[in-house]
């Protein structure tokens, strides 16, 4: 089945099964490798991206649901060569260790800050339920607060 997708502001056409996970379309058909395959069970959050600004686990999201919606992946965060505040904060706080899960955390953070611009630690703990096997949670928490500051200073 042919479908049109809007990803990071660009138009794509794909011809695949309508139930194909969006993650596999993005990675294997469109070669956008920033979004990671982790568990394939919507549990770890490595595959998190945004659909119409909402965080979704793309390994468990049929591609047909994404038609007519705006998809944002980690590749689409920066604009005009300018780092997104979340990217900048991640660099300042030297968050990643192995780095594999980080795109998913960063996209979940963007969704969080869209809804709660100045989150508390509790907001962070409850709204970001991704998994990091390196245990970088505390650095991520600092980076999320830093990203909230950067967002405010950008306004």
């Amino acid at each position: 089945m042919k479908m049109k997708l809007e990803i990071n502001g660009s138009q794509y056409e794909v011809d695949t099964d309508r139930n194909m996970p969006l993650l596999l379309v993005i990675r294997d058909m469109l070669d956008l490798k920033g979004t990671k395959y982790g568990c394939g069970r919507a549990a770890c959050g490595s595959c998190t991206l945004l659909v119409d600004g909402e965080a979704v686990r793309s390994c468990s999201y049929p591609v047909s649901l994404a038609e007519g919606r705006q998809i944002t992946t980690i590749e689409g965060l920066s604009e005009n060569g300018q780092r997104h505040p979340v990217q900048q904060a991640w660099i300042e706080e030297i968050v990643p260790q192995c780095g594999y899960c980080q795109p998913g955390f960063m996209m979940a953070t963007v969704a969080l800050l869209n809804k709660i611009p100045d989150p508390t630690d509790e907001d962070i703990d409850q709204n970001i339920l991704n998994v990091c096997r390196c245990g970088t949670y505390f650095r991520m928490r600092k980076a999320i607060h830093r990203a909230a500051e950067l967002n405010k200073s950008n306004i």
Binding site: A55, V56, S60, I128
Partner: protein, 204 residues
Amino acid sequence: MRSITISNSILISAPILVLIVLYAFTFQEMEGHPAEKPQQEEMTPEEAFEVMMQVLTHKRCINCHPDGDRPLQGEDSHFHHLGVVRGPDGHGLPAYQCNSCHQDRNNNFSGVPGAPHWHLAPKSMAWEGLSPGEIAHSMTDPERNGGRTIEEVEHHLTADPLVMWAFEPGLDQEGKPREKPPVERGDYILAVKRWVASGAVIPE
């Protein structure tokens, strides 16, 4: 001459064959679907209540009617993994909604269940730990059921796709079919309608 004889035989035998097939089909239908309407009429309100409650007390329903802020999941009704909570409206938290993972259909690739408007029942409709009678009182009480009339309760119980999901719960993360309630969907719907039509009396 021979071909004419064959054609005549076909002409004569064809209607008979059609009649036999039609008779067999009708008979099979009667055998295969044992007279649903008479069954509904024959069911007493108490029997209808019992059939309905076999479904409503099943884990496929109770897991989303928890007595607390965390959804339950699985055949053993454990707390939902990863600290998932109900949030202010039963749809999860602002940046981590139920539909971050649960879409409008089952996903048998990932084992994540789904149905339209996937969410938890409100706390006022917590059924976990309640008896069938207590569940019935909660769902017929407008103070607790969101102001629904009994007709609206019947519609929710028999036509809401999220409720009907219980009968098509898909595969779990190990690729095994999730357990369905012990009553067939059609029998359950008939039982609910029969119970409501008879006055929605809750047995003591």
